[in-house]
Amino acid sequence: MAHGPAKGIKRWLFTTNHKDIGTLYLWFSFAMFLVGGLFAMIIRAELFQPGMQLVTPEFFNQMTTMHGLVMVFGAIMPAFVGLANWMIPLMIGAPDMALPRMNNLSFWILPFAFLILVATLFMEGGGPNFGWTFYAPLSTTYAPDSVNYFIFAIHLMGASSIMGAINIIATVLNMRAPGMTLMKMPLFVWTWLITAFLLLAVMPVLAGAVTMMLMDINFGTSFFDAAGGGDPVLFQHIFWFFGHPEVYIIILPAFGVISAIIPTFSRKPLFGYSSMVYATAAIAFLSFIVWAHHMFTVGMPLAGELYFMYATMLIAVPTGVKVFNWITTMFRGAISFETPMLFAIAFVILFTIGGFTGLMLAIAPSDIQYHDSYFVVAHFHYVMVAGAVFSGTAAVYYWLPKWCGRMYNETMGKLHFWIAFIGFNIAFFPQHFLGLAGMPRRYADYALQFADWNMVSSIGAFIYGAAQILFLYNVIATIVAGKPVKEAKVWEGAEGLEWTVPTPAPYHTFATPPAVK
C-alpha cells in the first residue's frame, strides 16, 4: 500500500489509483475539448460569411452533430468525473474510490467509445449528421450507415457513466472518514452525489433510446414509424427524459466547484450551506418532470404545454437560491481576484444570464419564436461554456497547485481569463440577436440580414478558441516548471480536508482516516 506509482506507461494503463485515474480523465477531456472545439471552429469559419465556402452542407451537419456530442459526452462529463476522482476521496478522507478497478474500467471505455465515434467521420456516407439530439426518423430511416457505430459508441459511453456513477455513490456513502457526516460534506461532494443519481436514472434511458433506433434501423421494428403504429415524437420524449437531466448532470458539479472557490477567495464560509444542498436536490428532482420544454412545437395538447411551462419555470427558484447564496457569500467578505476567482465570478454572471434566457425559453408562447433558433444556441452556450467550461477551468487553476505542487503563472492565468471572457461574449452574445431576428440553428448557410452578427460571432469564437491554447500552455508550463509550492494549504482562505494533506498530494492519502471534528 505504501508504495508509489508504477513506472512508465504501465502506470497509466493499469492504475487503480484515484489520482491517476482523475488525471487520465482530465487529460482525455481536454483532448476532447480541443477536438470538439476544432469542430466548432469549422462551423464558425463556414458561417463567417453567407454562402458555402469551406465545407459541404452534409459535412456541416456532421460537424454540428459531432461538436455537440464530443463536447457534452467527451469534454464536459469526463472533466467533472476527473475532478470527482481526484477530489472526492481527498474531501471526505477516503483512501481511494470504493471500487478502484471498476474506476479504471470506466475511464478506459471512453477512448474506445470516442475512437469509434470519430472514426465514423471517415466512413462512406459520413458520420452522424442528425444533430446531437438525433431525432428519428432522420437518425433512423434516413441516417447514413455509420449510425450503427454511433449507437454502439453511445452504449459504451453509457456503460462508462453508469459505472462511474455507481463508484461515486458507493464512495460517498461508504468511504467517509469517521465524523464526516453527510451534512458536513463539501458541496462539491454533495452535488456529485446527486449528479450520480441523475446519471443512474437517465443513462439507461439513453441506452433504451439508441437500442430502439438500432431495432428500427436493422430489425424491422416500428417504434418511431407511424406506418406501423409508432411515433417519431416518442423518440423525443425518451431523448429529453434523458436530455434534460443531462444538462443538470453537466451543471451541478460545476455548482459544487463554484461553491468551493467563492468562499475561499472571499475568506468567508459559504452562506446557506444546507439550503444549497436542498436546492441541489430540488433542481435534480425538478429536472425529471420538465423534459418536454424542448418540444413546445411538436404539437402537444394545450394542457401538456402549460404543465411543462409551469414546471420548467419552477427551476428558477432553487437555482436562484444558489445564485443568491454565492453573492451573499461574497458580500462582506475579504475578496481577492486570483484566476480561479475571476472565472468563478464570471460564472455567476454569465450563468445567470444564461439562466434568464432559459427562463425566457420556458415561456411556451415565446418559445414558439425562439425554438430551434440561435437564441437557443446562445442560451445553452451561456450555461454550458460560461457555466460548465468556466467552472472546470476555475477548478483546474484552483486545485492544480495541490495536484502537482507547483503554482501556475498568475499573470498568464489572468490574461487567459480576460481573453476567454471577452472572446466568449463576442462569440455568443450576438447569437441572441441572430436568433431573435429569425436565424434557425443548424443552418449551413443563411440569409443576408444575418451576415454581420455571424461575422462578429465567428471572430469572437476564434478569440475564445485561441485563449484555450494559452490555457494549455499555462498548465503544461506549470507542471513542468512552475514555482514549487510547499504549504499544505495553498490558498489562504481555503477550508477542507484536501488542504490538510501535503502539497503535492502524495500518491496515497488517508490510508488511515483523518479525524473530522
Binding site: 493499469f14 481511494d96 474506445f112
Partner: protein, 293 residues
C-alpha cells in the same frame, strides 16, 4: 488486519480493466459492422476477450475474498454497487414500458383521430392489440408492417411461466435461509432447483416465440404490437438468461464451498438480480400479456 473497521482494501494496479475495455470496444465496433452485414469476426474476438477477462476478474475477486482481504466495509461497497446497478436496469426497462404506455394512450389514438384518418391513414382504427397498422389500413397486404393475426393467450404458457418464475423467487429465498442456517445441503438443493426453474422458463419462452413466428404472424415486423411485445419480453428473456447463468456460477461455487453465512455476497447479489428479473416479469405479465389482450 481485515477486521479493523476503518481499513479498506485497495487493489494493486491491474491489467483487468483495460482489457475489459478493449473487449467492450471491439464488441461495440464489431456489432456495428455486423448489423451492417459485415462478418461478425471483430465482435466475436471482442466477446472472447471480454469473456476471458471477466472470468479472470471474477476469479481474482473470489480469490481476494477467500484470502480475507475484504472486510465488511468493502462488502458494503459491493452491496451499494449491485443495488444501484439494479436500479439502472429498472430504468432501462422503464423506458420500454414507457414506450408501450405512450403508444397505447397517446400515439395510437392520435393516429386514429379525424385529421389523421382523413388526410393520411384512411380507414385506420386504433385498437389494442393492433392487428391492422395504419400502413395496412391504406395499403392492405402490400404493407411492410402487418399487424399480428393473433396474439399469445396469457392464460396458457405465460401463466405457467409466471408461476415458474414466482416459485423460483421463493426457492432462491429458501436457499438463502438454508445458507443462513448453515444447512449446506438444502442450500445447494434449493439453488439447483432455482437454476432449473430459470432454464424451464427460458425453454417455454423460446417455444412461445417459435409459435408466434410460425403460426400467429406475431413478429418484430408486426407493427407496434410486435415491436413492444418482443422488445419487452426479449430484454426480459435476456436478463433471465444472465440471471440463470449468474446463479449457475453461484451453484458451482456453493458446491466448492465458497460461501458461509456471513460471507456470501456473490450469492446474495445474484439472488437480488433474480428477484428483480422476477418483478419485471410480473409487470410484463400484467401490462403486456393480460392488459394487452
Amino acid at each position: 488486519m481485515a477486521s479493523e473497521s476503518n481499513y479498506y482494501y485497495v487493489p494493486e494496479s491491474s491489467k483487468l480493466p483495460i482489457f475489459t475495455a478493449l473487449g467492450m470496444g471491439l464488441c461495440a465496433y464489431g456489432a456495428g459492422s455486423w448489423v451492417q452485414g459485415h462478418s461478425p469476426m471483430v465482435f466475436l474476438i471482442g466477446a472472447v476477450i471480454l469473456a476471458a477477462v471477466l472470468w479472470a476478474w471474477f476469479g481474482a475477486v473470489i480469490r481476494e475474498n477467500l484470502a480475507g482481504l475484504y472486510n465488511e466495509r468493502v462488502e458494503r461497497s459491493f452491496v451499494w454497487g449491485m443495488s444501484w446497478f439494479i436500479f439502472s436496469e429498472v430504468m432501462f426497462f422503464a423506458v420500454f414500458f414507457g414506450a408501450l404506455f405512450y403508444v397505447r394512450t397517446i400515439a395510437l389514438p392520435e393516429l386514429g383521430s379525424p385529421l389523421e384518418t382523413e388526410l393520411l391513414w384512411k380507414g385506420f382504427e386504433p385498437s389494442w392489440p393492433l392487428h391492422v397498422t395504419p400502413e395496412m389500413a391504406v395499403a392492405g397486404e402490400a404493407a411492410k408492417f402487418k399487424g399480428p393475426r393473433e396474439i399469445i393467450d396469457p392464460w396458457h404458457i405465460p401463466l405457467i411461466n409466471t408461476i415458474i418464475l414466482l416459485s423460483s423467487s421463493v426457492t432462491v429465498h429458501f436457499a438463502h435461509t438454508a445458507l443462513k442456517n448453515a444447512n449446506r445441503r438444502m442450500f445447494i438443493g434449493w439453488l439447483a432447483v432455482t437454476v432449473l426453474l430459470g432454464a424451464i422458463f427460458l425453454g417455454f419462452q423460446i417455444y412461445e416465440y417459435g409459435e408466434a413466428y410460425r403460426h400467429l404472424g406475431l413478429t418484430l415486423n408486426a407493427g407496434i404490437y410486435g415491436t413492444t411485445f418482443f422488445m419487452l419480453t426479449g430484454f426480459h428473456g435476456a436478463h433471465v438468461t444472465i440471471g440463470t447463468f449468474m446463479l449457475l456460477v453461484q451453484l458451482v461455487r456453493a458446491i466448492k464451498g465458497h460461501f458461509s453465512a456471513d460471507n456470501c455476497f456473490g450469492f446474495e447479489a445474484s439472488s437480488w438480480y433474480w428477484h428483480f428479473v422476477d418483478v419485471v416479469w410480473v409487470g410484463l405479465f400484467i401490462f403486456v400479456y393480460v392488459l394487452g389482450s
